[in-house]
Symmetry: C2
């Protein structure tokens, strides 16, 4: 029987579910568990001393302003820094194309808020970022899913899907969460052409783009689209809405992300943010700006890349050394995650309690598929664990998997 | 003709409007304008040195944790501090009854998100807080409005309204925004009895409660309701959902608020927050906790109260000295605002551009009425301006008003 509160809750609450990952993290946060589950950056690399200096500078020079309300759009120098930064990558924006959000998660929520009517069809990769599904489920979409492979979203059959009255498409082109794969240039180009042909907005989610370990960076979809539409001098138009964050290059605890889009879209998002929470922390925006505009940030990003690459390599080597035959995995060129496929017949969800007993954790792959998917997959995070522990964790995992197959 | 983007936006965007106040503030933010328009705390009172010390302590002692992701619910010591604080006022909660939100604005958005179906009837005071209307409009409610007077919400005819299938009631009992009035104890008691009789949730919005200038504090509605339902030892049940914030006693730029409710409600709000933005700034929560738990906070609040009372008194005196006959106003016992009623026939919205010409600003009263209201009203903020400027601003306003009446 429903409780009195359940009788009062809005219909949309029936579609809202607790985050599988966030609930799981509560189980695995014990210090003796080797966790490949979260999406945590390496906290030992956080720029703590630099942050101290930034806080002190902000409070000394701009204390009254940094603690007061500010505009919903965000702190202008920060928006300008972001505009300058993405323009280097080929976008053509001004700060008026940018809204500061509480991490890129809030940008995804606003995408849902301004686009999704109940029953609308949203095209995602399969698998895709769980947080996007969670943000959008409250708005009642139906998910149409496109296949993925080692080069990201497969575009061969995409036109047939896009024709199906799609409200928007959502892609994670760089070091995909959860897959770790990167969409190649040819597919990006194909994607913007199809978006343009059918007038479908294209959400580019790029939280990890700056964490490229090897090879050349691939042009952002937003930049390809800006070029395709002949944008110049900050006249950003076209179909792409781009989101990113400081969570992976500075610190996730600051909750400073941003969304970039045509002015008309940003105007609607600003209205959404006014109703949702007025604005992001003024103080965190000032502090993030000081760190973003610092001389040390490029070196700091190099350090993160070097450390994460070592960790990725440690994980790949441990797979080679320990995993049973029939196990396959992706080889990310950057980011925080890779994707592991266990031998046929293994069930990563079923194995999870055994893994926790063995003091090792991961995220089972099934929840990342909007419309269901293989059970023998798991997302593995390599950024938050040092190489020795990664090796030990993978060993424990392999023992458990082999036992389950016996 | 609608633009291509307008054709793509969700239906709810047609109900989303830019905040009148936030747009207005852009006009009046010039330094030579005396603005009674915003809801800004006095920035010269911000605890900047104390904040520096708190940032330094947090980063030195807990840097890695304070910059990392944390739970959606919020930083536990902060939740515990809030629980202890409200329990002193007669609530009976544990930290599990508390979710940390991005200001109390986000708590209002989550109220809309978990309760309002399109077309639901929501009961508010008339006038009421504009930000609540803006948060909820996206969810498509119909507003049913109850009258107010010098003692807050008028409860005489309330039962007739509550019977009309109301989804929830929303009240601002202390130093009401925009009215500045305080609901008396008898009415609070009547309100919780009606809420209980008809099973209607009651949202108590209390951002200014600690800023009482004179007289005895009145028991929070949440405490009366907890007592009415026999809650003890942290077993908080009943109909009240309570929200408050550090914006008015520490700094609004931190964006740290909270919502308190029965565990079942908080659980739904946590799900809402997971989808909306994962969590508030970990760093700001650590820093806010350091300041909240400090020895200096009580003295700091006394200082704010003393300064705001002086400013209120300066405004009241200036009204006496300058305003034309037929002008009336409320006399707030605390908070940041009062409500001014111009002589019949004056139109505060029409006068606004003239006021800006005269370098003085306020917020016209009409937008605060969900279903329309008198045009001769305005909200006046007294917290952000010193007594001399208040006097000069009121004088300018009075000259302009008299001129318009001539």
């Amino acid at each position: 029987m429903p409780t009195p509160w359940e009788l009062r809750f809005a219909n949309r609450t029936q579609r809202m579910k607790s985050s599988f990952i966030r609930e799981l993290l509560k189980v695995t946060n014990q210090p003796d568990v080797i966790s490949f589950g979260g999406g945590f950056p390496a906290s030992e690399l956080f720029p703590i001393e630099e942050m101290k200096a930034a806080c002190d500078k902000v409070l000394t020079e701009n204390g009254k302003k940094a603690l007061q309300y500010t505009t919903t759009e965000g702190y202008d120098p920060l928006r300008q820094w972001i505009a300058d930064d993405v323009n280097k990558a080929g976008l053509s924006v001004t700060r008026d194309n940018i809204l500061i959000t509480t991490g890129s998660q809030q940008a995804l929520d606003f995408v849902g808020r301004i686009f999704i009517n109940n029953g609308d069809r949203v095209l995602t990769e399969s698998p895709t970022y769980l947080g996007a599904l969670q943000a959008w489920n409250a708005y009642g979409p139906t998910f149409v899913t496109a296949d993925t492979d080692e080069d990201g979203l497969v575009t061969d059959n995409l036109e047939g899907l896009i024709k199906q009255n799609i409200k928007f498409m959502y892609v994670l082109p760089n070091f995909h969460n959860p897959l770790g794969v990167t969409m190649n240039l040819e597919r990006r180009q194909k994607l913007i052409e199809l978006a343009s042909k059918y007038g479908v907005p294209l959400i580019e989610d790029d939280p990890y783009g700056k964490l490229l370990f090897e090879g050349e960076p691939i042009t952002p979809i937003a930049a390809l689209d800006a070029k395709y539409h002949g944008c110049n001098n900050g006249n950003f138009e076209g179909n792409v809405i781009y989101t990113s964050t400081f969570s992976k290059i500075l610190a996730p605890g600051l909750r400073i992300g941003w969304v970039i889009g045509p002015k008309e879209v940003i105007k609607r998002m600003v209205q959404a943010k006014q109703g949702a929470d007025l604005q992001c922390s003024t103080f965190d925006q000032y502090v993030a700006y000081e760190m973003a505009a610092s001389e040390w940030l490029p070196d700091h990003i190099e350090t993160i890349k070097r450390v994460y690459k070592e960790r990725r390599d440690a994980m790949l080597q441990a797979f080679e050394d320990f995993m049973p035959e029939g196990t396959t995995w992706t080889t990310p060129r950057g980011g925080l995650f890779l994707w592991l496929r266990l031998p046929e017949g293994c069930d990563a969800l079923e194995l999870f309690p055994k893994a926790v007993e063995e003091k090792v954790a991961y995220v089972p792959g099934t929840p990342f598929y909007p419309n269901g998917g293989p059970k023998n997959t798991m997302r593995m995070n390599f950024s938050a664990t040092n190489p020795e522990k990664i090796r030990e964790g993978v060993r424990r995992l392999s023992v458990m998997i082999k036992k389950s197959m016996a």
